[in-house]
């Protein structure tokens, strides 16, 4: 047994976050002003973000892998955690759900994601996934008085339970076939014993793709997404559309490309189908939506399709472009949801597309930022979204998927219709009633931060993609 202290040091980020999560839940009993808990959570996340890098190694006999890949994803999770909490600060009192447990659950969900991204064992993948999902189920149903929120939580829970069952079935088949649950061990066993082409392994692959497909909301496993995104509290939707999705991709990277790497031909085909369907269904159904949260839900389905291109392309380049895209998606999607959240005030829901009519007249800066996020989600230069897609498409073309890239580009063009419709509503329509905006400093900070990030990555894109590439050094593909 190696030095326990060194192993715990590798686990540092998770442990610190867990301690803070306990602290938040306990302090909730004595602290009346809940924003203190929010700032405490943000402080924890920032502290970890600045101190986590440089950890390298495996702990607990390969259960936990501290590597660049995991840390990069941790960065995504912590960023989305900070931003979502900032957005929640003024939103929770408006919805009358200003409880301290909210922040505790957010932290626990983040721990789950971090465990998933650093998992070196299929058991850890499952446990991390459950920790994340369970927290997010509760967060989705946090508005107890709202039937929509209840519906969202219940739907998410039911379908999530199905996904977990698939995952467990897949893991048990893998264990039966190889006699190990260690991710690198599975790959080694498949290679050594020539299991490629075994129908049981192919079946296992289907189960994994189905389970992870649920988590990243890829078609045909997307049915829950629109209702859940619409019903959940908006900051939770923002969090959910980014964190768990990125965590799902992190696990796909570990399980499919590493554990099932030797049989990549078996799952690539499945992922291609998933990707095309996601892009098509997501983008086309988004057109008919009038509720902006539903629209963003379909858009999130479509973006899962784009990001899958990186996994399909495979190799360090493909994975790096996928990671880079998820980071960019974090900024632009949470930015867009921040705007949606800010429109929710006492007595005004602000979720309908018509609420955006003539928004630029009353709130020019807010509208300008929304315009930026919509451009970025469409993939129009010089925004980050464009650069993200650019790297994805280049990776896919280099891997020989030119036709797939063409489909993706066409779908992006379709998506312009509904993204730019929001812009059109804001700038080219006369305002009906004046829609008030939350006076939330924290929300503005989040907005400013995401806006700057989207612009900065758009004009100076090399930083993060380099980071993603170097994170993949020693990943084992």
């Amino acid at each position: 047994m190696p030095d326990i202290g060194a192993q715990l040091w590798l686990l540092g980020p998770e442990i610190v976050l867990a301690v803070f999560a306990f602290g938040v839940i306990l302090l909730d009993l004595v602290i009346k002003e809940k924003s203190v808990l929010a700032y405490l959570s943000i402080a924890a996340a920032l502290f970890i973000m600045f101190t986590m890098f440089g950890r390298q190694g495996t702990a607990f006999g390969g259960m936990f892998l501290a590597d660049g890949y995991g840390l990069f994803f941790n960065f995504i999770f912590l960023t989305s955690l900070c931003l979502s909490i900032l957005v929640s600060l003024k939103y929770l009192p408006v919805e009358r759900i200003n409880f301290g447990e909210y922040y505790g659950l957010m932290l626990f969900a983040t721990i789950g994601m971090m465990v998933m991204a650093s998992a070196g064992d299929l058991i850890m993948v499952y446990l991390g996934l459950e920790l994340m999902s369970l927290s997010v189920y509760v967060l989705a149903g946090f508005m107890r008085q709202s039937t929509r929120s209840n519906e969202a939580a219940l739907k998410y829970f039911m379908l999530g339970a199905f996904a977990s069952a698939f995952l467990l079935l897949g893991i048990s088949f893998t264990y039966g076939l190889t006699g190990t649950t260690q991710i690198s061990g599975v790959a080694q066993y498949i290679k050594d014993n020539g299991l490629a082409g075994n129908p049981v392994l192919a079946f296992t692959t289907i189960l994994y793709v189905a389970a992870f497909g649920f988590k990243i909301a890829a078609v045909p496993f997307h049915m829950w997404a629109p209702d859940v995104y619409e019903g959940a509290p908006t900051p939770v939707t923002a969090f959910m559309s980014v964190g768990p999705k990125a965590a799902g991709f992190a696990v796909i990277g570990r399980v499919l490309t590493v554990a099932l790497g030797p049989v990549s031909s078996e799952w690539t085909g499945l992922l291609i189908v998933l990707s095309i369907l996601s892009m098509a269904v997501g983008n086309i159904l988004a057109i008919s939506q009038t509720n902006i949260k539903r629209m963003l839900a379909y858009s999130s389905i479509a973006h899962a399709g784009y990001a899958l291109l990186g996994v399909i392309a495979g190799g360090p380049e493909g994975l790096a472009s996928m990671m880079n895209y998820l980071l960019i998606y974090t900024f632009m999607n949470i930015g867009a949801f921040t705007v949606v959240t800010l429109l929710r005030t006492e007595g005004v829901k602000g979720e309908d597309l018509s609420d955006y009519e003539g928004l630029s007249k009353n709130h020019p800066l807010l509208s300008a930022l929304m315009l930026l996020f919509m451009f970025s989600l469409t993939g129009i230069p010089p925004t980050a979204g464009f650069m993200g897609k650019f790297y994805l498409f280049v990776a896919a073309i280099n891997a020989g998927y030119l036709w797939l890239t063409v489909i993706a580009v066409i779908m992006s063009a379709i998506s312009a219709y509904f993204y730019l419709r929001v812009v059109m509503y804001m700038y080219m329509k006369e305002p009906g009633t004046v829609i008030p905006v939350q006076r939330s400093t924290a929300g503005r900070v989040a907005l400013m931060f995401t806006g700057i990030a989207v612009l900065l990555i758009g004009v100076q894109p090399t930083g993060f993609i380099q980071m993603a590439r170097s994170a993949l050094a020693g990943f084992g593909i």
Binding site: M124, E130, S135, A153, P199, V200
Partner: protein, 168 residues
């Protein structure tokens, strides 16, 4: 002899599960489920997993199903029995399940067993099942064990938040 026992247990487990989901009276469904858990526990016993068998009874039959029963008891059984047994989408569900079953049947003869671990039946009998599991849980699997404890904590907090919180 072992084959006969296994055959009986698998048949009983399947029959009881089907019976449980087709009952209109939810109390009967829960009770059938408990009987099913007993068969499952016997299966574990026959496989030499005595700790698992005891925990199966304690946790599932003794705790979880009592809570289920507790909830089901306060339902209005007469109303429940009037409604349709299955949601309208059940043909789709059953065909998906049948598809999955067919896939599994196709692959069953291709299943290979991977390398064996250090815990053979003899080792477990000698060390006792409880000790073997305990040692593994607190050494090799201590990290998953701790994460599982976090999951339970989240479940508790979540249940309280969803059920008990007064509106702000």
């Amino acid at each position: 002899m072992n084959e006969i026992l296994f055959g009986y247990l698998s048949f009983a487990i399947l029959a009881l599960s089907i019976a449980a989901i087709t009952r209109k009276n939810p109390v009967h469904a829960v009770l059938l489920m408990i009987v099913m858990f007993f068969h499952l526990a016997t299966m574990y016993l026959a496989l030499g997993a005595e700790f698992l068998a005891a925990v199966q009874i304690m946790v599932y039959a003794g705790a979880i199903m009592v809570l289920f029963l507790f909830v089901v008891l306060v339902l209005n059984i007469r109303e429940e029995e009037k409604g349709e047994r299955f949601a309208s989408g059940w043909p789709l569900g059953i065909s998906l399940a049948a598809g999955l079953l067919i896939l599994i049947l196709i692959i069953t003869d291709k299943v290979l067993t991977g390398r064996q671990g250090q815990f053979t039946q003899a080792v477990i009998l000698q060390e006792t099942h409880t000790k073997a599991i305990g040692k593994l849980l607190y050494t090799q699997y201590v990290f998953p064990f701790e994460v599982a404890s976090l999951i339970l904590l989240v479940a508790i907090v979540g249940a309280i938040v969803l059920a008990k919180k007064r509106l702000g």
